[in-house]
């Protein structure tokens, strides 16, 4: 090779389209391009600045919007002044209107329209909306965000819905639809709030109670199809949605170790990721897959 290249080749001087190719290959699931862009200026210039991590943000008097980052670049933005909300795709600026949450709240507390304000925990809408939790289902082909928005299903649950159940809507709906909890007499105990909920393959799933049972709804008819038994683990489940359980029956219980639950909808299956935490550090992951049983039910399989 030519003699001026005898030293080291100029890895930092590769054309930027080549650097981008290399960068894309070096991307890893946890750190992304963080290391790559930190090597030198040319490398950083080739891949652009670091993306900002989008964190949930609570409303304040000066900026009463709340942002709930969800899947695949979509967020739900709630205006705490009037509980109006919309879907927003930050990267492309696509947006889709959703029904106002006020209606949803009135649906639940319809017999007591002022009930929201009467809750000691939630004196304002801002405080109320802070306990909202959302999940969305985005159609697999989301290359066109505006078209994708039309096919989405948005699910919402609020801590205070308690035994009422969760809500869902699709962009363009006039109001949120209520999904009732399974009848305890018919399906056994699933009385308390949901830990987590998710949409998968035409069904909606809500895991909850104090025992980790999971209700399965047909997303079209809202019928309860199944109640999936508790996954086969020692019962110390905690909620990732509302923080760990530190109070039981009003008594502070500082749990040293407990398990967080995450429902994850993959294209081909629904899985449950359980993160075991000990002294505030994750120590183990367990993954369960939802499978059919011979008698037509569903069960968690490790």
């Amino acid at each position: 090779m030519a003699s001026q290249e005898e030293q080291q080749p100029g890895w930092s001087n590769l054309p930027s389209d080549l650097l981008r190719l290399i960068a894309q290959r070096s991307r890893d699931a946890v750190t992304g391009l963080a290391a790559f862009r930190s090597v030198c200026r040319t490398w950083r210039a080739a891949v652009g600045p670091a993306p900002r991590l989008l964190l949930p943000r609570a409303g304040s008097a000066s900026d009463p919007t709340l942002v709930f980052p969800l899947a695949r670049g979509w967020s739900i933005v709630v205006d705490a002044r009037d509980a109006s909300c919309h879907l927003s795709h930050l990267a492309t600026g696509a947006a889709a209107a959703l029904p106002k949450l006020t209606n949803a709240v009135r649906d639940i507390y319809g017999h007591r329209p002022d009930a929201v304000r009467s809750w000691a925990f939630h004196r304002t809408y801002a405080a109320f909306t802070y306990s909202l939790r959302f999940a969305i289902h985005v159609p697999p082909d989301d290359s066109d965000p505006t078209a994708a928005a039309a096919g989405m299903t948005v699910m919402m649950y609020h801590l205070m819905h308690g035994r009422t159940g969760m809500l869902f809507c699709r962009p363009g709906d006039a109001a949120w639809t209520k999904v009732k909890k399974p009848n305890p007499l018919q399906h056994g105990c699933l009385r308390y709030g949901f830990f987590d909920f998710v949409y998968h393959d035409g069904k909606m799933f809500g895991m909850g109670g104090t025992n980790g049972q999971m209700a399965v709804y047909d997303a079209a008819t809202l019928d309860v199809l199944h109640v999936v038994p508790t996954p086969p683990v020692p019962s110390k489940l905690s909620s990732k949605m509302y923080g760990r359980t530190t109070k039981m029956y009003g008594v502070a219980v500082d749990l040293e170790d407990y398990d967080y639950i995450n429902l994850v909808s993959l294209p081909s299956k629904l899985i449950l990721v359980m993160t075991s935490v000990k002294s505030s550090l994750p120590v183990a992951f367990n993954i369960f897959e939802l499978r059919s049983t011979p008698d037509g039910g569903l069960t968690w399989h490790k």
């Binding site: 090779m1 030519a2 930092s12 389209d17 290399i22 290959r25 963080a34 290391a35």
Partner: protein
């Protein structure tokens, strides 16, 4: 594999009518001649395909002034190995829609092919593949380079590639904060 043809041989092949030849002769920046299967060259390199179709192939050796003999030897070697060892349909389709098709993992022989290269040779080969529009080879070489970075901190990557850290102290501190969660304990 015989890739470096002598002058005499190249002159002999020149006598054969161009249309009948099933190889093309390429000339490196330092004047060395290499012969490569016309079919493989056209299939693997968009630039060579264009030159062959456009009749701008020189029987005396098509000048590739940007490519040194070591890199060109690797390019030709790759083309010949490819012609011999791969059913090509899948690769062709992956190289056409380069930006959208998922990267197909390197074959065992492709892995070996890039593993034996020095850093310098790999660098030159990436540039040559880029220049010649050889998307599969570009894929394979870029994959190799990215593997050399996997799991490494920025400091370690700079060391591997002998890259000068050109950030200022202030910028480094900023980067350190950006990366604290991933690479540093504190």
């Amino acid at each position: 594999m015989e890739v470096d043809k002598g002058k005499g041989e190249a002159e002999e092949t020149r006598k054969v009518a161009e249309a009948d030849r099933d190889t093309v002769t390429l000339k490196s920046s330092d004047g060395k001649l290499f012969e490569v299967s016309k079919e493989a060259a056209a299939r693997l390199s968009t630039v060579l395909a264009g030159m062959i179709a456009g009749g701008s192939i020189d029987d005396n050796g098509t000048d590739l002034k940007q490519i040194g003999s070591e890199a060109l030897e690797n390019v030709v070697d790759y083309c010949n190995k490819h012609a011999n060892s791969i059913p090509s349909a899948a690769l062709i389709s992956s190289s056409i829609s380069f930006n959208t098709a998922p990267f197909k993992e390197p074959e065992e022989w492709e892995r070996k092919f890039v593993d034996r290269l020095s850093h310098d040779a790999l660098f030159d080969l990436v540039e040559a593949a880029n220049f010649l529009g050889m998307e599969r080879l570009l894929d394979v070489t870029c994959h190799k380079i990215s593997e050399m970075m996997k799991g490494k901190s920025p400091d370690q990557i700079r060391e591997v590639f002998n890259i000068k850290n050109d950030y200022t102290k202030e910028e480094l501190e900023e980067i350190r904060q950006e990366l604290a969660w991933a690479f540093y304990d504190d």
